[in-house]
């Protein structure tokens, strides 16, 4: 009878111990995942994906990591050079302030468009939104973290 009681207790505690072993393993794998994400270089504030670019510079599908102030235009001194006949040399600027991205048109000839609407003043920009400069369409995405 005592042996039986012992078995019951061993099995009962083993079950609880296994629950914690499982949790420990899960936490291990979560930590690995977080460490890997932390090691990833260039954790930036966001990135711009080129959705469409008829002129081929920048190429469609390319991704740019963004700095807090990123200038766009035809001039080679811009952070992102847009070699499009309809782009001005200093066309637009993307800035990260506080919690959000903003886009501003720098007095370009043909204007900057946010989701198809012309950008008149400094406009907030969400991840997933599209900016058009000339014939080039760019989408803002969150930086890769995993």
């Amino acid at each position: 009878m005592d042996g039986f009681l012992l078995v019951i207790w061993v099995v009962r505690l083993l079950f609880l111990a296994l629950l914690y072993l499982f949790l420990a393993r899960v936490v291990q794998s979560l930590l690995r995942d977080l460490r890997a994400a932390g090691r990833e270089p260039g954790a930036s504030l966001g990135r711009l994906i080129v959705v469409e670019s008829p002129a081929g510079e920048p190429e469609a599908g390319r991704s740019f990591d963004l700095d807090a102030i990123t200038t766009l235009g035809r001039d080679v001194n811009n952070a992102i050079v847009i070699d499009d006949p309809f782009a001005s040399s200093d066309h637009a600027v993307l800035t990260y302030r506080g919690r959000s991205w903003y886009v501003e048109d720098l007095g370009s000839t043909n204007g900057t468009f946010l989701n198809g609407r012309p950008v008149a003043a400094v406009s907030p920009l969400g991840f997933g939104d599209e900016v058009s400069i000339g014939q080039v369409r760019l989408r803002l995405e969150r930086a890769r973290t995993s």
Binding site: R12, L14, F22, S29, G128, S146
Partner: protein, 477 residues
């Protein structure tokens, strides 16, 4: 430069439609094996407690359940997606604990006649669990684009409100609450599905209006508010939550919806002022309700002092507290909790409302903490998937799905422990109930699909999208 950089990212597009290649998921396999072993030991412990036999308790049921989990794993390996590998084992273990609990409770709590045989509580729950695994796996494997959620958010909202109204009008009253909707033989609790629809709508709404909500335009005394029209949804949400309390008498759903709404608004905008206004509205509404409606006031009174009427209105919660107390640190062991009182389990509605109290009795504080830990892992996965999502919609959607599980688990766990007034929501993955299990399976399935960054869907909108711009574009063009 252009060759290397362009080439690397250019292959990203065709790969979406490329052949499906199986991809091993070792983390998931190992964790599933461990979860399966733990459940086997739990089943033996249950059998020792009930029959004194060293063998799994109802091995067929456990076998079917573990087989379903293994099949889900194989299906995901074959599909070759890079989705999350922790969610399935963790929710699988929670479901397995639920199966053990339902097998252990009196089988006549729920019966379902299928032909000549009558299925008891454990078998019905097993059926729902297997269905839930199938739903979660199918969504996780098949859903490769979120456009169907993103594009039709107002349609989803309309469907949700229609579902709510249908329940208001045609719902059956069960125990003073109008929660169940019956269409012929199929019955269910729409509020479980509604919570998913709510998150989908909020994700669409908040991601579209996030920039506007963050801009600080209006000042109201010390508070800085977003433009007033954008507060309308908050007031609407508040009204809907109050409507649910008044008409459906479902405090739990109202608390869940409003809690998720507030948490998600905060997650999306980072503005404390919105949360403060929401909390203010909530407290004002609650105080009003507690004074105006008896069923709300009663709940609060029971919560404040269940021992005032321990054999009447306070019976359920008093019994639950006793169960936790009997469990102590290590519990009485599975199957060795308090036997039936007068042919019924001591806690009324233990299989839907108080599974945590039953587990607290048989697994003790140590076991309950482990179970809460499993819920924390589910929430962590959801938030992590949200944090690494490429755009706002997916980030908010994943966050919201995690919050729904987390807030619901908190509401009912707190209710069981007399931390909050008791409200009748289910404990995700553990409570008995088809609606609850299937709705939570949809949540897990969507999280699995969203976690996959390997096969990202093509860029979402061809047409211009965004707040206001869309409407204006349609009208003029």
């Amino acid at each position: 430069m252009t060759g290397a950089a362009g080439g690397a990212s250019a292959v990203a597009l065709p790969r979406i439609l490329g052949p499906i290649r199986p991809r091993a998921r070792w983390t998931e396999a190992k964790l599933l094996a461990l979860a399966g072993f733990a459940l086997l030991v739990g089943s033996i412990s249950l059998s020792l407690g009930v029959n004194g036999v060293f063998a799994p308790y109802e091995p067929q049921g456990l076998g079917i359940y573990l087989g379903a989990l293994a099949l889900a794993h194989v299906a995901q390996v074959l599909a070759g997606r890079r989705s999350d590998q922790v969610l399935l084992p963790v929710t699988g273990l929670l479901g397995g604990i639920s199966l053990l609990l339902m097998q252990r409770l009196p089988q006549n709590l729920v019966t379902l006649d299928v032909g000549d045989t009558t299925l008891g509580l454990g078998e019905v729950q097993l059926m729902w669990l297997v269905l839930a695994i199938a739903v979660a796996t199918t969504l996780g494997v098949v859903v490769r684009s979120d456009a169907w959620l993103r594009r039709y958010k107002y349609t989803w909202a309309a469907a949700g409100i229609a579902l709510l109204l249908l329940t208001f009008v045609f719902g059956a009253d069960v125990a003073g609450q109008r929660l169940t909707l019956r269409l012929g033989p199929v019955g269910g609790q729409p509020s479980e599905l509604l919570k998913v629809i709510l998150v989908v709508f909020l994700a669409g709404y908040l991601s579209e209006n996030r920039p506007l909500l963050i801009e600080q335009d209006t000042r109201l005394g010390p508070l800085r508010l977003p433009p007033l029209p954008y507060l309308a949804p908050m007031v609407a949400m508040w009204a809907i939550a109050l409507g649910i309390v008044v008409i459906q008498r479902d405090l739990g759903a109202a608390l869940l919806f409003f809690g998720v709404f507030l948490a998600l608004t905060y997650a999306a905008t980072g503005r404390l002022s919105l949360v403060l206004i929401g909390l203010g509205l909530f407290l004002a509404g609650s105080a009003l309700m507690a004074n105006l409606f008896e069923h709300v006031g009663d709940r609060v009174d029971i919560w404040l002092d269940p021992f005032a009427d321990p054999l009447g209105s306070g019976y359920q919660i008093v019994q639950a507290l006793h169960a936790f107390a009997r469990g102590g640190l290590l519990g009485t062991g599975l199957g060795e909790g308090l036997p039936l009182v007068g042919g019924r389990p001591p806690i009324p509605e233990v299989h839907t409302d108080f599974p945590l109290a039953a587990l607290g009795e048989e697994l003790g504080l140590v076991g309950v903490i482990a179970i809460l830990g499993l819920f924390f892992v589910v929430i962590q996965r959801g938030l992590r998937i949200g944090a690494s999502a490429a755009d706002d919609f997916r980030a908010i959607l994943a966050t919201g799905l995690a919050l729904v599980i987390g807030v619901q688990a908190f509401i009912i766990a707190a209710g069981n422990l007399k931390v909050l007034p008791l409200t009748g929501v289910t404990l995700p993955f553990i409570s008995y109930g088809g609606s609850s299990l299937l709705a939570n399976a949809v949540v897990v399935g969507l999280l699995l699909a969203l976690s996959d960054r390997g096969v990202e869907p093509p860029p979402p909108p061809e047409v211009a999208t965004g707040w206001r711009g869309r409407l204006r574009g349609r009208r003029t063009g």
